[in-house]
Amino acid sequence: MVTNAASLGRSGVHDFILIRASAVVLACYTIFLVGFIACSSPLTYDAWHGLFSALPMKVFTLLALVAVLVHAWIGIWQVLTDYVKCVSLRGVLQFVFVVAAFSYLAAGILIVWGV
């Protein structure tokens, strides 16, 4: 068995479940937003502000941001372990990408809860 410490999941199955579950959340969020934009013609600031003021939408957005973090973490790890064979360079790149993903999450939380 091959072990891995840098990915998010504890095993291949765990990664497999996480990446698909997060993809479902992101797909639902994208479809909902596209649907909202398509059905709100013309789309006004008030309508947009009203949407993101509601608690369920804040929770849904937070869930989508966490899903981005999970999906990106595992996906980037898979891509980096395929293409970057130098372990130290891969470690640095993985660190940068995970920090960036966490930053998106933190910024997203502050923005959504600021509405």
């Binding site: 091959v2 072990t3 291949g12 199955v13 898979q78």
Partner: protein, 235 residues
């Protein structure tokens, strides 16, 4: 009729780097031949050309090569497949080249060894044989026919990038063949050996293996079944 070939040549003893060498063969108009027959004729012209072959009928899996960008067996690929275009012949991709079209398949066989390609049965040995019902035997169809030519694994990017960690389509097809065998009792042990981020889950289902398999097998489907078994065991 003239057949044009460009063949990958590399002899590490004399060449500093690989190169493509052009050959041509005169054949009777309207005739066809397998790529292996053409290679044998080319070898008569140039005895230094090296390649593997054995049974000449798609059974032994020795002459897996890359023809115009697609892996296949030279012995069952007609020259007419390429519709008169120049045929570019290269060794199987991603593997270390020993010489010309001969590759070192050590990593391929190492992965095959990992899946324990033999029946494990810890039950009392029957007096005559382990019996299977026709339905149980049917589960092995589409799995046991693999001849290990390595065309699939060497067409798989996941195997190119991680040949030391990813079992590869051929090895996983064999793994599923033993996982689904009613006579095998080591299912749990076999699944435990595959339950990591590389061995099975590096397959992203791009189906190159299915596209090139000269026996028409479907390793992607077998890998999907293994993933399902691992999932069912985990949740």
């Amino acid at each position: 009729m003239k057949l044009e070939f460009a063949v990958y040549r590399y002899n590490p003893d004399v060449d500093t780097k690989p190169y493509m060498k052009d050959y041509s063969l005169e054949v009777d108009e309207g005739t066809d031949m397998m790529v292996l027959d053409a290679l044998l004729k080319l070898k008569e012209l140039d005895p230094t050309l090296a390649f593997r072959r054995s049974c000449r009928e798609g059974v032994c899996g020795s002459d897996g090569i890359n023809m115009n960008g697609k892996n296949g067996l030279a012995c069952i690929t007609p020259v007419s497949t390429f519709k008169g275009k120049k045929i570019e012949i290269r060794p199987l991709p991603g593997m270390p080249v020993v010489r010309d079209l001969i590759v070192d398949l050590t990593q391929f066989y190492t992965q095959y060894e990992k899946i324990k390609p033999f029946l494990i049965n810890d039950e009392k040995t029957p007096a005559r044989e382990h019996l299977q019902s026709p339905e149980e035997r049917e589960h092995l169809d589409g799995l046991y026919e693999c001849i290990m030519c390595a065309c699939c694994s060497t067409a798989c990017p996941s195997f190119w990038w991680n040949p030391d960690k990813f079992i590869g389509p051929s090895g996983l097809l064999h793994a599923y063949r033993f996982l689904i065998d009613s006579r095998d009792t080591a299912t749990e042990e076999r699944l435990s050996g595959l339950d990591d981020a590389y061995s099975v889950f590096r397959c992203h289902g791009i189906m190159n293996c299915v596209d090139v398999c000269p026996k028409g097998l479907n390793p992607t489907k077998a890998i999907g079944h293994i993933k399902s078994m691992l999932l069912q065991r985990a949740v």
